[in-house]
Amino acid sequence: MGKKQAGTGPLSRRPDNSAFKQQRLPAWSPSLTPQTVLPTFYILSLVCLLLGIWLLITVEYTYELKVDYTDAGTCEQCFNLRKHAIDSSTPCKCTVSFHVPKTFPGDVFFYYGLRNFHQNLRRYMDSRDDAQMVGRKNNLKAPSSYCAPFDYDANGKPIAPCGAVANSMFNDSLTVMYNPTDGSKIQVPLYRKGIAWYTDKNVKFRNPPTNNTFSLQQAFEGTTRPLYWQRPVYELDDIDSNNNGFINDDLIVWMREAAFPNFKKLYGVLNRAQGPFTEGLPAGNYTLSINYNFPVEPFRGRKELVISMVTWFGGQNYFLPIAYLVTSGLILVTAVVLTTVFVKVGKKGKNMEE
């Protein structure tokens, strides 16, 4: 402050005459005039209306079907069986029938949905070790303390993958049978791979290094499977051996924790290569058979199968179109009010008088 400039002379302390120092920087100073505000409101109202209609139409042609199988059909026994942790190793199979009223054209996606399952609890979400799941050798056998109490088993063996998230992985297996009117049963073929984010599959989750002589099982030697799992991580997929270990798609999908307690996760995509499914999922009767493993009774949860189509806008989501339509209406009402006020009060300029 007040530092003298180097030079001396009659005007040596005169401040510079720069636009910045004199606060005369060229500037745009908009103000809320009727000429800008009212058209903006009308235009925005129109934009929202159009968007809303467009989205609504899109969503109208996006079909979705939810089949709650928690205790439906023959699953009530399994539901009751899974109430007790003691019987957790006892296998239980059940079936649920459902009807698809309209053909789902195009690609059809099969999700499992869980209700009231809090994947978003802080301690739950912290209970994982990304360094282990990216396949680092050191971390594989020394899981992070965040995984506790799922870091080592009772014998002190490191768990892979460690933590509560992996431990609680959804382990029902779902099979959907198509029952055409002719009485036959056709299994709906599903792609069970390619259901995870590319970045997750290729970057975030990696297996420990293996080669021709060093198998995945050997790589995981010295670790044990999570407490609630029936199989070790390197045997998750018994059909496709490349889908085993940390890069198992189901595991990856599960590990991407949901933001809210009610969520659905991708289970498989309809394989439209053959049969009646080339055009999509035909209308008709279906049977869902479940290897019922995942207990939901303790946390008063529900399980469901969600069959859905997908558009550019994602799945069937009525919220945004309706929200846009409502917003459009609100803006329109506001715009009309503002216009009325402007015409009654502001237009004559009386309010602007001194």
Binding site: S12, K21, A27, V134, A258, G314
Partner: protein, 1084 residues
Amino acid sequence: MGSLLSACGINVKKKKVEEERHLRANDREFNLSFKYANNAIKTSKYNVFTFLPLNLFEQFQRLANAYFVFLLILQLIPQISSLSWFTTVVPLLLVLSITLAKDLSDDITRHKNDNHVNNRKVEVLINGDEKWMNVQVGDIVKLENNEFVTADLLLLSSSEPLNLIYIETAELDGLVSKPVNVNMNLSICYYCVRCEPPNNRLDKFTGTLTMRGETFALDNERILLRGCTLRNTEWCFGLVVFGGPDTKLMQNSGKSVFKRTSIDHLMNVLVMFIFGFLAFMCTILSIGNAIWEYQEGNSFITFLPRADGANASLSAFLTFWSYVIILNTVVPISLYVSVEILRLGNSYFIDWDRKMYHVKSDTPAQARTTTLNEELGQIKYIFSDKTGTLTQNIMTFNRCSINGKSYGKRKSRKIDFSWNSLADSKFCFHDHKLVEAVKSGSPEVRAFFRLLALCHTVMAEEKTEGLFYQAQSPDEGALVTAARNFGFVFRSRTPETISLVEMGVPTTYELLAVLDFNNVRKRMSVIVRSPEGKLTLFCKGADTIIYERLHPSSSKLMEVTTEHLNEYAGEGLRTLALAYKDLDEDEFEKWKERHHEASTSLEDREAKLDTIYEEIEKDLLLLGASAVEDKLQDGVPQTIEQLAKADIKIWVLTGDKQETAENIGYSCNMLREEMKEIFIVAANTAEEVREELLELLRTACMCQAVICCRVTPLQKAQVVELVKKHKKAVTLAIGDGANDVSMIKTAHIGVGISGQEGMQAVLSSDFSFAQFRYLQRLLLVHGRWSYLRMCKFLRYFFYKNFTFTFVHFWYGFFCGFSAQTVYDEWFITLYNLVYTALPVIGLSIFDQDVNDRWSFQYPQLYAPGQLNQYFSKMAFARILLHSCYSSLVLFFIPWAAMCDTVRDDGKDIADYQSFALLAQTCLLIAVSVQMGLDTYYWTAVNQFFLWGSLSVYFAVTFTMYSNGMYLIFTSSFPFIGTARNSLNQPNVWLTIFLTTILCILPVVAKRFLFIQLKPTINDKVRQAKAVPPPLPRKFPRRRISTRRSGYAFSHARGYGDLVTSGRFLRIPVKSRPALFPHTDTPVP
């Protein structure tokens, strides 16, 4: 504290309390035995080793930083830690290092200054040249002209007649010259001084000096204080009494009151409220957590076992602290740093303003305190000094009426005074008739100027450059200078003679008596004997007083002169009537005896003298009248009118008399003819003033203008204090002299005029500039903008932080109150620090609602600041509600849009990481658009900051979510791929668009409605901006019809006493190089 400081290497002196100072001149050994502080000073706070620990220690004492540390400790507890340590450490380090850098540079400057001062050289009697820091108490030092005073000195002698010395008091008080009357023989340097211990009272000193067995009392008159500069005095000797830290200057420094603005106070209240609010939110959430844990958590332990011994209540307790960490952003920690930054920026704009730079004195305006800017926009009362502030303290002899003839109409060109070799070249007069009258020898005209040359208490000083006058009051100087230029040159005086050069002829008058001025008499007279032996009494004084004492023969002349006086008063001039009387030798002798009697009487001397004076000052013959213009500073009337329009009440507090003050009040537009009632506060003691003021405060505060006359410096401060206390309004005091210091320090804002009266006012002020008229720019432009910017900043800052934080609150209801954050931790770290920091600073440094010309055109625009309209508790509550609304939109719209949806390839998008990214992007865009809505003045910098910050957000986000970052710092950046996978989704952008619309449009609609229905003056001006503002009006000078005469002396007693005192005789007057061959300086 003390032990800690000494442990840190700070030298804490534990001295015995000094009760009396005892020293011997030039006896160092003796003096050193007392361990008095030597003359080295230390204003710096740190050295190389103590800087870091001490500074950090100081910084952590601040609430904000302590809060950071508290959070950090919480975060280190694993059960509580809901955020990584870096979210706290990064901002903390930033804040600490900014403060550290600022303190470091400040302290380096102080070190440099200390070194510079300590290494100044001074001549010490026993050692020759010595550095200042080595000067000891008891040394005798010799100061030469223009040297700084080394320490507090006891003056021993000086080169000047009367042992007067002249000092410029740059840093202390406004004394201009100081008479010292001790004459001591320097060859015997054996003085013994006993005096009071060091203290900070500038006006008091007691002690005794023993010399050759004789003891003399010492008082403040003989002390020369450090911080002054010797002027017009060849040399002087002084004995060092107090050195270095003991000097009055150092004892006085560093104790200035730390001023805080009303916004600061409000902010403190709000921060306390926010703490409470934080606790409230955390309590709700932890209760929620207890309920959730009890109902749901128990059933979820299969998947997420509890830690040992944990149950719902412990979990709730831990959750409380976890939420304290998460919601900590609601307490605006970085607020204080940002506020400092933008105040500093706005202070720089004041320093840089060319329109507040005074070319003549090469003085730019200066914001000496950088923490008060926004209060400049809230001023309700201005307390102004008069002399030197409203007026230039320059008097010019403008008009005169001699023997019924008026001179001095400004119609012809300047008179050339070259015929008079002694004339003062700066003097100007415009009426040639007067010169002709003098030259032609008109006896009345000559008597008129003779009177002016004789009847005064001015001291003359002859230097090689010419003749200089030292006048007690500038109007006396103006009158004597006028006489000088018209050929009656006052050259020198002794106690018994006055030497003039009358039209080139040196003449010496014998000075028989000085009937000095005082407030009651309102006149002064001298009785002189001319070289011819004629006895004459010359008298000048207030016209009413003189008129009462005129001889009846003057009555006709009186009428004419009265007319002239009225005319002069109408022009706002200060008038004096002049009269004389020839005296009888016998009559005078008798009078003189009685005078002597009275002047030696011990009781009631003043009253007796007054009576004696009264006896002789009668039957006077009127000579005429003089009119002196008390020059106003440029633009004062306009400024006052502007400020009045801005509804700022102006009180003038002056030591002057009522007439003078009123006169100035009229001439500077404060008082106008149509103002009928003028209350006059005239009281003698502070208590009376207070009582009267309390009575009048109501009335006075309704008045547009108040003038307080005859107030002492202390009373000035009391008046300010009174208004501060009873009106709860923001006050500003403006002054230029030492007598204004108390007022400047008391008022919320002190403004110093850097003028002629020394620098003390400036040094104790918060803002300083050279001219009163800059005040309107300081208040109406800088103050208004600063207030506007500060309030916008605060409103926006609170808004963005509350909105940010409340989203977490809503998420608590969906995540089992588990203290899960909504956003990525890095976003939490960088939100305040990077993504939103620069735009808001740009807003609060550059924003202008209307430009400066409009601000001048409509001073009413100033009103919102006075009424606290832009930021108050109400405004804060509105912000809270607004944030609440915004956060609801920003949480529930993305929630509803995302909770059951998938990507366009059927894959997951309702996952936590995608939702976090969506929520934070919505938030950032919404608050950025809100920022745009708040910005009235879009400079390129604002655009750059806003778009830059948004780009930086996306750039940083993509970088942190990239493969590389994940593979290097796996556990720090778990959000890999989130940005790529969700920001390419149309529904994400549709959600962002919808939240932005829903956040912004209600605000736009509300603002538009208010502009239409209840437009403020501000809105009107902004809407009318298309028309360029007209040029500032010219103010015609008002004619004033009523006469206000003012006797021009200051109310203090003059030099009269000293001039005629016997003490004068003891001092040999140093003979000077003579200007004239016929100098007849009588050397007794």
